[in-house]
Amino acid sequence: MTGISMVVNGRAVSGDVEGRTLLSSFLRDDLRLTGTHVGCDTSQCGACVVHVNGKAVKACTMFAVEADGAEVATIEGEANADGSLSVIQQAFQDHHGLQCGFCTPGMVMSAAALLKDNPKPTETEVRDYLEGNICRCTGYHNIVKAIMAASGQDVSAIAAE
C-alpha cells in the first residue's frame, strides 16, 4: 500500500492505495465521490472524466498513485459555491441534455474542458471533442445543443426541441 494525498474539489484528502488502484476507484470507493461513473473497462466511454491539474482525464486511465499531489476536480465540485448549477450544468437542464444521467458527469466535465480551450466551438468541434464520451440515451442532439448554448451561442435555429 502507498500513502497518497491530493486536493479534490479544493479539499485536501489522503489515503492508502494499492499500486493497481485506479483514480476512478479511489474517488468512488475511498472518497465516496460517486458522481464519477465507470461505464466501461477500455477507457472508451468517458463517464469517468475528471480534471487533473486542469486537464480533462479519464479517471479509469490513471492510477491513483499517479495523481499523488495533484489538483483534481470532479462533478461534485462543478456547481457554483451557493449550490446553484454552473452555466454548463444549467444549459444541460435547459436543453434536456441528459436522460438517465449516467454519462452526464463525464459529459459536463468534458464540456467544461472544451469551453475552457475553445470558448465558441462550432457544432463540428463539439461533436469531435465528444468522440470520447458515449451517451446511449440522447442521440447527442441536446448535448451538443446544450454545450453550444453554454458557450453563449444562439441555438434557437437548431431543429426544435
Partner: protein
Amino acid sequence: MPKDSGIGASSKRREDLRFLTGAGKYTDDINIHGQTYVHFLRADVAHATINSIDTTAAAAMPGVVQVFTGADFEAVGGIPCGWQVTDRFGEPMQEPRHPVIAHGTIRHVGEIVAAVVGETLAQARDAAEAIVLDLTEKPAVVDMKAAATEGSTKVHDDLASNICYDWGFVEENRDAVDQAIKDAAHVTTLELVNNRLVANPMEPRVAVGEYSRSDDMHTLHTTSQNPHVIRLLMGAFVLGIPEHKLRVVAPDVGGGFGTKIFHYAEEAFCTFAAKAVNRPVKWTSTRSEAFMSDAHGRDHVTKIELAMDADNNFTAIRTETYANMGAYLSTFASSVPTWLHGTLMAGNYKTPLIYVNVKAMFTNTVPVDAYRGAGRPEATFQLERVIDKAARERGVDPIALRRQNFVTEFPYATPVAVEYDTGDYEATMAKLEEIADIDGFAARRAESEAKGKLRGLGVNCYIEACGIAPSNLVGQLGARAGLYDAATVRVNATGSISVMVGAHSHGQGHETSFPQVISEMIGIPEDQIDIVHGDTSKIPFGMGTYGSRSLAVCGSAMVRAAEKVINKAKKIAAHLLEASDADIELKDGQFSVAGTDKSVAWGDVTLAAYVPHNYPLEDIEPGLEETAFYDPANFTYPAGAYACEVEVDPDTGKVTIERFSAADDFGNVINPMIVSGQVHGGIAQGIGQALLENCAYDEDGQLISASYMDYAMPRADDLPFYTVDHSCQTPCTHNPLGVKGCGEAGAIGSPPSVVNAVIDALQSGGKNVTHIDMPVTPARVWEAMNNA
C-alpha cells in the same frame, strides 16, 4: 402560446438537479457496512462438459469468504421464462433449465461457472484465477440454419432438437397466403439479416444482496426496469422466498433499453449468497462482462415476400424468420419474435392476407431478448425494405406506393390479430414531406454530386404496438403474468401529493412528467407533487417500464387513482360548503359550488381529511389516499413516417447521415421536450443498428465484439441534428390520457430509412445494388458497389 405547466408543457426535468451534480444514487453507489464482493468466473469457451471444478486453492486465498459452484444451486429453481409460446402444431415450446451457475455443461461464453465472494473485489478476482477447471470442449452451435439441421450438435442434450418452437401465424391463413402469392401479378422477395445488437445502457448491471437473520428478510438492490417483476420471478420461481420476505429496490438506473427488464442469474446469486455468508454481497458488472452476460437483441434472419396485383395493391405477405434465442430462454425471449413481431407485420397497410413463420433457435450464444422495440423493429425493417424494393421493381415512387396501400379507416382489424384503434398515416406522411423538405431533395442531390458524392433519400413508415398489455389477451397468448400497472395517490394533510407508481424511470423523466398530469387534474403546482418509484416496499404491485407502457398503462392507473381522490375530496368539499356532491367543481385547486361564489381551497379540504373535526365521518373515512390498478383494453398504436438523407463516398463506401426527420403520432403529448428527447435517442440507436453496431460471434462461439474497442457505439460525430415533430395527434381511444407511448418509436422507425437511403444513393450512381445487410459499413458498401 406553449403552456408553462401541466399537460403539454415542456417542464424542465427535476431529476436533472441530482444527475448534473453527481448526486444521483445508482446501485453501484450503494455500499453497505460489512459488504463483501463477488467475482464471477465466466466460461471462456462456448460449449463444454464440466468434468470437475477444483476450488480448494481458491478457497484458501487471502480474503476469500466462500466459493460457490453449480452444485450449490442444484436445490434452487432455474431462471424462468415468462412467456410460453405454442408452436404451429399445438405443442408448447421446448424450455430447458436455465441454471444460476452452470452445472455439468457450459453453453455460452460468459456463462457463470463459479463465484468467489471475498472481502475485497481484488481478492475475489485474484482467487478466481486459482480455480482449476477440467473441461471437455464440444463443437459450438452458432449459425441458426445449421442448428436447425438434422444431426446438428445440440445445445441441450435433453431436448429433442435446437428448435425452441416453429411458430405459424396466422396458421389458418397459410394456404390462402400461398395461393395469393401464386396468383399475384408481381411478387417482390427479399432476404435479410436483422443484426444482433447489445443494448449497452451506459450503467453496467449491478446487484447488491442483503439478508437480515433477525426477521428473515432479503433485500436486493438491482439495476432493474421493473423491481416487482424481479421480486415475483426470483422469489416465486428461483429462490422460493415469499413476497413479504423479499424487497427489491431499483434506485437510479442508468438506462435500460430492455436489457434491464429481465431477471438475471447474478441477482439470484447475490440474494442467495447474502444469506449463505450472512453478509451483504455486491456485484458490479464490468463492460466486458456486460457484453457476454446482458441479454442481446434482434438477431433474425428473414425471407419476406410481398405480393401485389397489377395495380400495385398489396395482396399478401409471407415471411420466414429464424430467430436466435441464445443458449437459454431469457425472461421474455420467446415472445419477441412471435407476439411482438408477427402481430405487426401488417404495418400501416391494408394487406388482406399475411402469414408469418418463425423458427426460434437455441445456439451457444448469450441469451437474446427484448431490446428497444423488441420484435417491432424487426417487423418494420423487413416490411419497409421490401416495399422499397417493390417500388423500384415496379418503377413507382416509394412514397406513392405506401400511400396507395395505407390503412385509412379506423378502427382497423389487421389479418394478424390486432385492431388499430386510431391513426392517420396520411397526416404523418404529409408532415414528413414538409419537415424533411422532400421537394428540395433534388437540389441537394445535385450539390452532393457536384462534390463527387452520391446522395440518397430513404423514407419509411412504421407502426408499433405499445402499452403492453390487456392481461386476458396476453394470458391466452402464453404470458405467465398479468400486465396491468398500479399507482397510489397519497394526498398529504397540507395538500402536497406523493404518487407511488409501478413504472420505473431510468431516463424517461417520470419524476417530471407524471406530476404534470396530476397538476393538470387538480390545479396545484407541479412542485407540490412527487413521484415514488423503484422500491417494492413502497410502491403498489405494478409491472414496470418497457414496451413504451409507462404513461399509457401506469399513467392511466395514476389518473384513475387521482379520480378516486378527487371524487372523495369533492364529498368533503360538499360537506364544508354545505352543498350537494354533484354541484362541486374542481378548478385551479379550488372546489366551488356550481353557479355560486362559494368555494374552498384544495389545501383546506385535504387538511379536513386528516383533521376531521368538521367532517362527515358517518359517510366517509378520514384520510385521502387511493390506489388504482389499470389493465388496458387494447394496445396503443403509435405510428409515423421517417426520412433519412445520406451521402455516400463512392471511393470509400463511407455513409454520412446528412439529414434525419421524424414525424410521429403519439396521441396526446404530456411533455414535448421529453418526447423529442426520447425520439432523438431512439433514432440514434436505429442509426447505430443501420450503420455501426454488430454483435459478432466466430464459428467457435467466441464473442468477437466484446468491448467498446470492437462494438461500434454511435458517437457524437457519427450523428446529425434531427428534425422531429409530433404535432400529428390522433389520441388513443381507450386510455384516459389518450396517450400512445414514444420510447421505442425512434429505434423502430429509423433503420429502414437509412438503408433505403443508401440503396437510393447507390442506384443514383448507376449501381444495381438492391440490398445491403446492416450494419451498412464502408466495407460492405464498397464491396456491393464494386460487385454490382
